[in-house]
């Protein structure tokens, strides 16, 4: 059998399980190939649930960008009060979690690996969606509503680039997709369920370090277009304030840069090319801070701003 990528959901569960246990499972999403390893059945369940449309193969190619091993933190925790951590191959302050939360460890480990070790792109902690005319970069801290807004915009017809990262190409100044499941926390789970429908959500993981977490699955179309970058046309900084009337403030280019640089995990490491790409991206986009009290408000504001930006 040829070692070609094919849809994960088309494999037998046993094959994925064996490959995952032996560390030979390779997944390709956007610009990254990822070597995946783990022994927990929960991860296999999660892969078939949240990543069923992702391309994988059972034997590794020559090079992978990222390697994640979900394993016990030490030999004791392999047997007694079992725990797992996600090991990306370098030391991170990983959170030991009970085995039923191994999918969460898996997701957090992948995020850390990209955030801290990816040097091919300038990475910004943001969600990105786009259409055939351009991309919207949504920059906010955890809890700022970027995942909820990104999910809402997916329903509007935008394709998902990423829930967690803006990957800025330092040569072209364009944003690259890396479509992984959208992480939804606490109240946003029900909000997204309401407008997306139950079938697009994974089960909810309770008792995590960030409360309840569920994932909005990536659509096949998002994955099919995951190698097509787009230039940012709109950069948004959502600010959630409960029961606050919606408001919009246009930002200057310098203020936008001021806000984006601290949200990057590697800007400082990448030097001149990173600066020039950032200047280029910001020059080509309109930027706004939007303050909102509910998802409907943020969606309506974004619709309006996107239309004005030519999206």
């Amino acid at each position: 059998m040829k070692n070609e990528f094919q849809r994960l959901g088309d494999y037998h569960r046993e094959d994925i399980d064996v490959a995952l246990r032996s560390g030979s499972l390779e997944m390709e999403l956007g610009p990254f190939s990822m070597r995946l390893e783990g022994r927990e059945a929960d991860i296999v369940d999660f892969l078939f649930d949240a990543y069923r449309d992702a391309p994988v193969r059972l034997k590794l190619g020559d090079v992978t960008d990222v390697a994640i091993n979900v394993r016990p933190p030490n030999i004791i925790r392999k047997y007694i009060r079992r725990q797992v951590i996600a090991d990306p191959g370098f030391i991170v302050p990983a959170v030991p979690l009970p085995p039923y939360l191994s999918p969460l460890a898996f997701e957090m480990g992948l995020n850390l690996a990209i955030a801290l070790k990816c040097c091919r792109f300038t990475t910004f902690h943001s969600a990105v969606v786009g259409n055939e005319r351009g991309a919207i970069l949504i920059s906010a801290h955890s809890g700022g509503g970027k995942s909820t807004l990104a999910s809402a915009l997916m329903v509007e017809g935008y394709r998902l680039f990423s829930d967690e990262f803006g990957l800025l190409d330092m040569e072209t100044g364009m944003l690259h997709p890396y479509p992984r499941p959208v992480s939804l926390k606490e109240k946003s789970i029900d909000i997204v369920r309401e407008f997306t429908g139950e079938k697009w959500l994974t089960k909810t993981f309770g008792g995590t370090p960030k409360g309840d977490i569920a994932y909005r699955r990536v659509r096949p179309s998002d994955i099919q277009l995951s190698k097509t970058p787009m230039a940012a046309k709109l950069i948004l900084f959502p600010v959630f304030q409960e029961d606050t009337p919606p408001s919009v403030r246009e930002l200057s280019k310098s203020e936008t840069i001021m806000k984006l640089i601290p949200s990057s995990t590697n800007y400082h490491l990448l030097g001149t090319a990173s600066f020039e790409a950032l200047i280029k991206m910001v020059a080509g986009a309109q930027t706004f801070e939007i303050t909102y009290g509910n998802t409907q408000d943020s969606l309506e504001i974004t619709r309006d701003l996107a239309a004005k930006a030519g999206l």
Binding site: R81, Q83, V92, P93, A94, V95, P96, L97, P98, L101, N111, L112, A115, L116, H125, H141, S142, G143, E186, G207, T208, P209, K210, G211, I257, M258, I261, P262, S263, S264, T265, N266, Y267, H268, L269
Partner: protein, 243 residues
């Protein structure tokens, strides 16, 4: 770098305003640094949502009982009902032994009115002062008075079981004494990262601080596998702090 053609009045006024701010100490250069720690620091941003209404009962030895049972006050005395205290302790979901709670959260020990002219112990104002934060926002009920708890002591100094201190404060002698009660509402959100200093240490205060203090005790005993609400969040921060 300076466009000398833009010398409109407004333009110059804006520049003058900026220079005034500079003269007042505002930096003339703003430096931005990418936060390579952003992803890691996100571990500090976890929150704990209290799943259901519960209370923490703390005694003067630093022992604590956590549960959702009733802790009513006696309308006559204004103090905890003895029966409620007993039931609460019996039905507590979590029990922490002596010295689990630091001194700032403990009530004063029971002291009994001697009925001399100098007045009794248990000055209510003093007791409240160390149990209220600088914002005065604690949702805390403290039930503090010198009394005989359930130990059978009887220190009544007058007919109705009350004594008066020199300020006229009532010293209750027939109700449980030496307890503080901290109440947490359902869906109350605690952000443990707010209590981590830049030096990477805990700086606990307020009701949330007590909750986190007991969380740390709980983790010492049970690791991540217990059911204490928010245990994973606190562990993630401990890991961040390298503990």
């Amino acid at each position: 770098m300076t466009d000398k053609n833009k010398k409109t009045d407004l333009f110059l006024e804006q520049r003058r305003d900026l220079l005034k701010l500079g003269a007042a100490g505002m930096p003339m250069v703003l430096t931005l640094r990418a936060s390579a720690q952003e992803a890691v620091i996100s571990q500090l941003r976890c929150t704990i949502t209290i799943p259901s209404k519960f209370k923490i009962l703390v005694d003067d030895t630093g022992a604590a009982w956590v549960g959702s049972g009733k802790l009513r006050t006696d309308k006559k005395t204004g103090n905890l009902k003895d029966k409620d205290v007993k039931n609460f302790k019996h039905d507590a979901s979590y029990i922490f032994p002596h010295d689990s709670v630091s001194a700032s959260y403990r009530p004063d020990a029971c002291e009994y009115e001697t009925c001399d002219e100098s007045g009794g112990s248990g000055d209510h104002d003093d007791l409240l002062s160390h149990l209220t934060d600088e914002n005065g926002t604690y949702a805390m009920n403290d039930y503090l008075a010198g009394s005989g708890e359930d130990d059978g002591h009887d220190h009544s100094c007058d007919d109705d079981g009350h004594a008066q201190d020199s300020h006229g404060h009532s010293i209750i002698t027939n109700a449980p004494c030496g307890y503080a009660v901290y109440e947490y509402s359902r869906s109350q959100i605690i952000s443990p990262g707010d209590y981590v200093t830049q030096g990477g240490d805990w700086n606990l205060s307020g009701d949330d601080g007590l909750y986190l203090e007991l969380s740390l005790k709980y983790i010492d005993e049970n690791g991540v596998n217990g059911h204490w609400p928010g245990v994973s969040c606190v562990i993630s921060i401990l890991n961040y702090m390298g503990h």
